[in-house]
Amino acid sequence: MAHYPESLITELEERARQLRITSLQMIHRRAAGHPGGALSAAEIMAALFFHRLRLDPARPDWPERDRFILSKGHASAPLYAALAARGFIPIEELAHWGDLSCPLQGHPDRLKTPGVEMTSGILGHGVAIGAGLALSARLRGLSYRVYTLLGDGECQGGIVWEGALVAARYRLSNLTAIVDCNGVQLDGPVHEILPLEPFADKWRMFNWAVLEINGHNMRQILEALDTAAEIHDRPTVVVARTTKGKGVSFMENNAAWHGVPPNDEQLARALQELKGGA
């Protein structure tokens, strides 16, 4: 088992907390966005953008950079917050997200935002596009890795599994999918709307390596991402069990917070919980 210094874990947990705070502030300011799935993905996004991804903000087109595709494109707030913190876009731009003149679109747009590798927002595309990008890397002999973050509800769509077949067919070990399994979708609990379990088994049957973790445990996330990089005969999926709305008590496990912004009072309560470390 890999050893991660306590200082790294603490730093990344703090990054996750900041992503939550910034995301909620951004969603509140424009009175639009998706709090639930932003909060559930915070540790995963922090681990990727502040540790795992090989990136150079000064060279957003660096051919050897790792590629990240936000397949669950509605979780754009933590992506923009992470890109700003990494220096791809100015921090001040976050306060203009969604404005008519602002390049930051509701859903990520690769042509308007440095660091956004692929336009997304309609669900399901990350695995298949990631497979193509991973094939391209192999053809060119480049060593970058491709990561894509999905939601669990997203996996109700067939295109995810079409992409999974292709990635397995070509044994694309340079592709890692992470599923933010927060168990809740827009209309309610995933298991009530269209059950996906046994979810990890499905990926195994599709010939993927499967790592099942607690998606809020930073050590487990880091270890899973490192393990995936050491698997050389197949793509890996990290099934990250998370809580929708994680970190804000009144948003947790509540489908009502999928795509509804907090009002002033709700934001204040949320920030109090997040800043107090509650």
Binding site: D109, M118, H125, I129, G132, L133, A137, I159, Y170
Partner: protein, 312 residues
């Protein structure tokens, strides 16, 4: 290339171009023996990906390859690329402006054997409506082959509409091809026939018949339905005063629609549209008889010319 099916000329040209450009990769959806992308597959197996019967996934995989700097040619039946994979094409190819080339095989009525499930008679209208898309319809086998290099070297999404079959030869390689610029295939001053794809050859035959009756018809080939060569069409309207469009596509939203829009804004003159009526076609023993039965016969073009002249 008289007598050569368009798909064969395209397939061979793609394989030939693959030797010159190592960035080209080719995908197919279990139809490589039909689209003839297998010529490329046989020569460059490491750059060929058979995605199986999953056109939406094929387009997404191509998008990923394009993001990595490759130039993917996506081969599939036009009906499936334009309909089943349309969301991928709209979002991940056009909106994201990825450098994906859709080689849409068996377009129009050319899958005459299988019938309306596999006809593509609305694809030009669909693709033309998408921002960022370029829509190119070659007239014959020679032209289909000649389009491969410029389509590959153009930076952006292209829908290249291909027929399964033999089309009347009209093109020779000495005629340059430029995206967005129409070709005067026959000069004439009395009326203009604006045609695309397989209807270019039929329109030239119609013009010959009309000449025998003393009607001097100009024939314009509009290979690029989008962006449309509006100036060439406006000029024809001004000089001949009446236009007929001809296409192996429904009369709604294809070349006829595009020309009607252009005329309305530049030089409104009488216009008749030759195309498939707003109805599904049927199965047939060969494409020529099916086209004739669907209102695309040479005589239909001649009749449309006479109608439009009567309105002028």
């Amino acid at each position: 290339m008289a007598g050569v099916p368009m798909r064969q000329a395209f397939g061979l040209a793609l394989a030939e171009y693959g030797a010159a450009n190592p960035d080209v990769v080719v995908l197919d959806a279990d139809t490589s023996s039909s689209t003839l992308s297998r010529f490329f597959a046989e020569r460059f197996p490491e750059r060929f990906f058979n995605i199986g019967i999953a056109e939406p996934c094929m387009v997404d995989v191509a998008v990923g390859l394009a993001l990595g700097g490759h130039i993917p040619f996506v081969n599939g039946f036009a009906a499936l690329l334009a309909l089943r994979a349309l969301e991928q094409v709209r979002t991940c190819v056009c909106y994201a402006r990825t450098n994906v080339k859709l080689a849409a095989a068996f377009a129009g009525l050319s899958d005459y054997k299988d019938g309306p499930t596999h006809h593509a008679i609305t694809d030009i209208a669909i693709m033309r409506a998408l921002p960022e898309m370029t829509v190119i319809v070659p007239a014959d086998a020679e032209e289909a082959a000649a389009w491969v290099p410029p389509v590959a070297e153009y930076d952006g999404p292209v829908y290249l509409r291909l027929s399964r079959d033999v089309a009347i030869p009209v093109h020779d390689r000495s005629t340059g091809l430029c995206i967005g610029r129409g070709i005067v295939r026959r000069p004439g001053g009395d009326v203009t026939i604006v045609a695309t794809g397989t209807m270019v050859g039929r329109s030239l035959r119609a013009a010959e018949g009309l000449a025998a009756e003393g009607i001097d018809a100009r024939v314009l080939e509009i290979h690029t339905v989008k962006p449309l060569d509006v100036e060439l069409i406006r000029q024809a309207a001004e000089e001949t005063g009446a236009l007929v469009t001809a296409e192996e596509h429904t009369v709604i939203g294809g070349l006829g629609g595009a020309v009607a829009e252009a005329l309305a804004q530049t030089r409104p003159v009488p216009l008749e549209r030759v195309g498939i009526a707003d109805a599904f076609a049927r199965t047939a023993p060969d494409v020529d008889s099916l086209m004739d039965a669907c209102g695309l016969a040479v005589a239909d073009v001649v009749a449309a010319v006479k109608r439009v002249l009567a309105r002028r």
